[in-house]
């Protein structure tokens, strides 16, 4: 295992120290393990709190700031945070208008956030939850854990965060968050596995001519192993799956993210984006906004995740609203 770390058990605390040192706009409570805006709560505004296992940076700490999250609760690597962290975050950022928890749909995240919601409610904090479950690589059904929450988390946090910044109510902010999730789909392909510091070896092994199709962001194997294909075919596989689940028609508009999983060079993400642009152009679906880069990662995994959100006027104007976070910044 090759990692730029001091010790597997120190990864989270060391990283939090680095985040604290690097970003004066953030306040890191190392004890409570929460990252909040340095400015404190925004009186009268809904505060967004998210969190999850670490190893997905810049998610979520990199999205704390004006127009997006108020707080992030980082768990250990690939381990959801404990309820105490979420409650501490809700307490720290509640501006009196309630707290929206943005939760990725994993059993661990769901359970810990649920417990936290209950505890925070007991303390008199108004809490609502948006569950993100956009990964079409996972078959959805009431009998399973359901779809994973992946790339759409960024869209939900950005757009709901923008509405919160405008002073909307908790119900409205939660509603738009759910709308974004419902309009979004993701699919990811890995060219190499990743290794958690604790495990010391990769979650799966791939031959030099293989890829894992339909992977999540926790280093687990995907739905199937296939022969490595050119970028055009990989993009088509992912977008076919996304379009099969959420058809976009000629004339529709979309926000698209080509997201690197941590170990993919940016030049390759641009190559993938060129293929995405072609795919959309052939179907006459307009990509009206895009992100190309590492936003939701899986440690050093090489691969790409595509996330597509069907846009409408409200979502688009909230997308364009000012945001000022370490990882996403415009209009400010």
């Amino acid at each position: 295992m090759k990692k730029l770390i001091n010790a597997p058990e120190a990864v989270l605390s060391d990283a939090l120290a680095g985040i604290a040192a690097a970003h004066p706009s953030l306040r890191v409570d190392a004890e409570a393990r929460i990252i909040t805006r340095a400015g404190g709560p925004s009186a009268g505004k809904v505060a967004l709190v998210s969190g999850g296992g670490s190893g997905h940076e810049p998610l979520h700490g990199g999205f704390v700031g004006t127009g997006m999250l108020h707080a992030a609760c980082p768990g250990e690597v690939f381990t959801s945070p404990v309820p105490d962290q979420v409650v501490a975050a809700a307490r720290a950022v509640d501006g009196g208008a309630g707290v929206l928890l943005v939760v990725k749909n994993y059993t661990g995240d769901v359970l810990n956030f649920e417990m936290a919601a209950e505890l925070a409610g007991d303390e008199g904090i108004e809490v609502a939850t948006v569950l993100v479950d956009d990964d079409v690589a996972v078959q959805d059904s009431t009998w399973t854990a359901g779809r994973r929450g992946t790339g759409a988390t960024v869209f939900v946090e950005k757009i709901a965060g923008a509405l919160a910044e405008q002073g909307a109510s908790l119900a409205e902010v939660a509603e738009v968050g759910r709308r974004v999730n419902a309009a979004s789909r993701s699919f990811a392909v890995a060219l190499s596995p990743c290794t958690t510091p604790a495990a010391g070896k990769p979650g799966f092994e791939l031959a030099d001519d293989e890829m894992e199709v339909g992977v999540g962001i926790h280093g687990e194997p995907g739905r199937s192993r296939e022969k490595l294909e050119p970028a055009s075919a990989i993009v088509a596989t992912a977008l076919d799956a996304i379009f099969a689940d959420q058809p976009l028609a000629a004339g529709d508009e979309a926000i698209v993210m080509v997201n690197g999983l941590g170990g993919t060079p940016l030049i390759e993400l641009y190559i993938a984006y060129a293929e995405v642009a072609k795919y959309f152009a052939e179907r006459d679906v307009r990509i009206v906004r895009n992100l190309v880069g590492d936003y939701v990662t899986s440690l050093e995994m090489a691969g790409v995740m595509l996330t597509v959100c069907k846009a409408d006027e409200q979502l688009l104007s909230l997308w364009d609203a000012p945001v000022n976070t370490p990882a996403l910044r415009w209009g400010l």
Binding site: G53, E76, V77, S80, Y106, A137, T144, A199, G203
Partner: protein, 207 residues
């Protein structure tokens, strides 16, 4: 079963998680996210610290404290689920000593809590696949008039068999469910740690 024995049980779990940390993590690496061993070890290390110097009024207090500490320190799926289990069991046991039948009933309350929270049924390839047969074996032995130590032995053996049997199952709950049919052929980490919990109980009650 008294407070002392309960403490010994929890201490034995802590030792088992220390010893099996890597094994559990590697099992989780195959069909999950490679953190279950680390999670359990972190949790029970915290539990050991929390129980140190703690003055419980009853058997249940030890277990409630254990569960609460797990919830506050584990995270992931295992934290709330194990936390709920120990809290639910503990809440049933208010006295300084728990009678075998009380314990069996409390365990059932624990299972109910886990299932209510996680919605897993036997066959979903989760900790429930070790927990359910363990409790059934424990309850049956007690009803049979067996000694609590013997009951715990049978529970441990049943849990181990249940964990083993998860190998053949396709996961329908938890992270492994994402793999679909590819989850078959691997033993569930949570069921494996549950087997450790009951093996520790057997050790505690027969030593």
């Amino acid at each position: 079963v008294d407070i002392h024995q309960t403490r010994i049980w929890v201490r034995a779990i802590t030792a088992a998680m220390d010893q099996n940390k890597d094994r559990l993590t590697q099992l989780d690496s195959a069909i999950g996210d490679a953190d279950h061993g680390v999670n359990m070890q972190r949790g029970f290390t915290a539990v050991a610290a929390a129980l140190d110097g703690y003055e419980p009024a009853g058997v249940g207090d030890v277990l409630v404290k254990t569960g609460t500490t797990l919830i506050s320190s584990v995270g992931g799926a295992a934290g709330p689920l194990y936390g709920t289990f120990f809290r639910a069991v503990g809440k049933q046991l208010t006295g300084p000593v728990a009678e075998p039948a009380q314990l069996a009933a409390a365990f059932e309350a624990g299972l109910a809590g886990v299932q209510k929270l996680g919605a897993a049924v036997p066959g979903d390839k989760t900790m429930v696949d070790a927990l359910a047969p363990a409790l059934a074996a424990f309850g049956a032995a007690i009803e049979d008039g067996q000694d609590v130590g013997v009951a715990a032995e049978r529970a441990a053996t049943a849990a181990e068999a249940g964990a083993q049997e998860t190998i053949a199952l396709q996961a329908r709950k938890g992270r492994a469910s994402y793999l679909g049919p590819r989850s078959i052929g691997h033993q569930d980490p949570g069921a494996t740690s549950t087997a450790l919990v009951f093996r520790a109980l057997a050790e505690a009650l027969t030593s």
